[in-house]
Symmetry: C2
Subunit: 339 residues, 2 copies
DNA sequence: CCTAAAAATGTTAGCGCTAACATGAATAAG
DNA sequence: CTTATTCATGTTAGCGCTAACATTTTTAGG
């Protein structure tokens, strides 16, 4: 008695069936699709016609299993609600898509432990490579990648320790916007920081170094809150900052969300921006250009970072020698009305 | 002469090897992991201990291939830079994650042809189901799903044609915000629309119907631009609208981006909001609450839409009978200072 | 025309897993 | 104590594809 046939997935048309219809073997069909130059033109055309006619759809699982290459890249980002990382993902996607790679997105929620958990979970997909946000993962993280030989590119920041990275110097950017405020004549410059991840802390370092150098540093002007940042928090923090330090004449907010909340609060309190207090943000999100006055901020090349990181990773996967493991894409201080 | 062993993927530890180490067959290990109740407790513990010890990571490709279930859901959204869809994706992700499903994101860029192309491309992954934004896909779209038996849930809008859908009535929402403006006493209410997708057009219908009913409809007060919306466009459109129709006393912008640009432009032109002109938006994005004055808009349950749609789809995949194929999650007019 | 090399196609096996069926052990029912 | 029934585990095969090797056909060089 013949046993029940197994359930089949997808369109049901297999390489083998295309082969039968076109009068060739399955492997030739595979070659016609994946390395066309290895099949004679006449045969190739006939095969491609058959593929089209029967509506063949390759099965990626079978392909991954047979070739030990998943054509899948894991991308770990701290948040999806922060436009910064979305822009990065869009850049990544554009590059991976044309290369035939699939992007798997993991949201770490700014948590190192979740990041590790996600990595473990996503290993099921046998990713060919991984794009990570930031440089400070737990030690096991690198150990796993090392052990399994999964290449990685680190995004948004720079290091010289040999890891492949694409980004800009968070510290220098923090220093640059602080220097801008100094140049405009502000002397009591506060720092407003939330969601204190490694990038925010580096911007803070840049801020501190610059003010120290100008002998204007005052630790009391630092407002730091580890909880997630929001416009709400920016509004509340601004009010508190000016109440406790009425001589504060400028605020460098570690991101645009805080800055937008801060400007809105100034309106509510009847405080002139930038005359009473100047406000600067970070990232140059779309709304930053549309506050009143428009927000001075730091434009960051997030989209390009994603795209370049993806390109670098694909090169690494292809076995190319990477001459420059550290790619600095820079940043730009965008001076607008709020300073 | 023995042939070269094939390259292997991932951690290298297979079910079979776990079985050897634990003194059982591969299938028993598989059962211990996937349907624990079918393996005796003693054996199960021993197996799980071995799995842990050897750092076994299942291979999803092999699993998909053998079981004809990919545990993958395709999610098609029109844009990734629009927060609305990100919020939806976050809702989807939360539900899929705990169910062990993987989300594949396809960005259609608001294009029906790209949507179809993406669907075809993603069939390679043999998705077990699909979540689609909107109801108006090209006819082939439904045909493909039908033919392959892939269940779908439609998000963000409602229909009674039997398709599973989770959303709210775009038309009613457009009508409601227009009615709100009427109730506040505005009489020359303009409509500002960009990125004229099906949802925007339905909001427009709601706007038209409401003004018709009040005998206040004037086609000249409709500003429509099919190109992507932006704050920039909102600013430009507002200026033009008021120049061409100085008696216009309120503007319903089809999304918050346009509205934020419009309010900013009012500041630049020295026009009081809402005294000279009232502004209303749509979606209630975060910045909407932080303009000056704060923006009147329509809050939409995007996150819940994503989550509910995912839940519905999983039920459908599990073969459950869906009693209510149409899930209306409603909307809320949020009246703030700009009206 | 012959021979060597290259190009085009085919055969075989196996990637890691689970469906289907098979068997043996434990339990229940009479 | 026998037989029927359930429960626990195993055997076999195959999902659809491609790596490795094998064979056939074509081309090149003399």
């Amino acid at each position: 008695m013949p046993r029940k046939p197994r359930l089949r997935s997808g369109s049901g048309v297999t390489l083998h069936e295309i082969g039968l219809a076109a009068g060739v073997s399955a492997i030739t069909v595979s070659r016609a699709l994946n390395s066309p130059e290895r099949v004679s033109e006449a045969l190739r055309n006939k095969i491609l016609e058959t593929v089209d006619r029967l509506g063949y759809v390759p099965n990626r699982s079978a392909r991954s299993l047979a070739s030990a290459r998943s054509r899948t890249i894991l991308v770990l980002v701290p948040s999806l609600t922060n436009t910064v990382f979305i822009d990065t993902l869009v850049g990544v996607e554009e590059v991976l898509r044309v290369a035939g790679y699939q992007m798997l997105i993991g949201n770490t929620h700014y948590s190192a432990s979740e990041e590790l958990q996600l990595l473990r979970a996503y290993l099921e997909h046998q990713p060919d490579g991984i794009l990570v946000t930031g440089l400070s993962q737990p030690p096991e993280f690198g150990a796993i990648l090392e052990k399994l030989g999964i290449p990685a590119v680190y995004m948004m920041d720079l290091t010289d320790d040999g890891r492949l990275c694409v980004g800009f110097s968070q510290e220098e950017a923090g220093a640059a916007i602080t220097a801008h405020l100094l140049a405009r004549g502000y002397r009591r410059i506060a720092f407003m920081g939330a969601q204190l991840d490694e990038r925010v802390l580096k911007r803070l370092e840049g801020y501190r170094a610059t003010l120290h150098a100008a002998q204007l540093y005052d630790a009391k002007l630092e407002f730091l809150d580890p909880s997630p940042s929001s416009m709400q928090m920016g509004a509340e923090a601004l009010e508190r900052l000016l109440r406790e330090h009425p001589d504060c004449d400028a605020v460098f907010c570690c991101n645009d969300d805080l800055a937008i909340g801060a400007i809105a609060q100034c309106h509510r309190l009847g405080l002139a921006v930038p005359d009473r207090v100047a406000i600067a943000g970070f990232n140059d999100l779309q709304p930053a250009a549309w506050t009143t006055p428009a927000l001075t901020t730091v434009a960051t090349p997030r989209n390009r970072i994603g795209a370049e990181a993806a390109r670098l990773l694909l090169e690494r996967i292809a076995g190319l020698v990477i001459s420059a493991p550290r790619q600095d894409l820079g940043f730009a201080v965008v001076a607008r009305g709020s300073s």
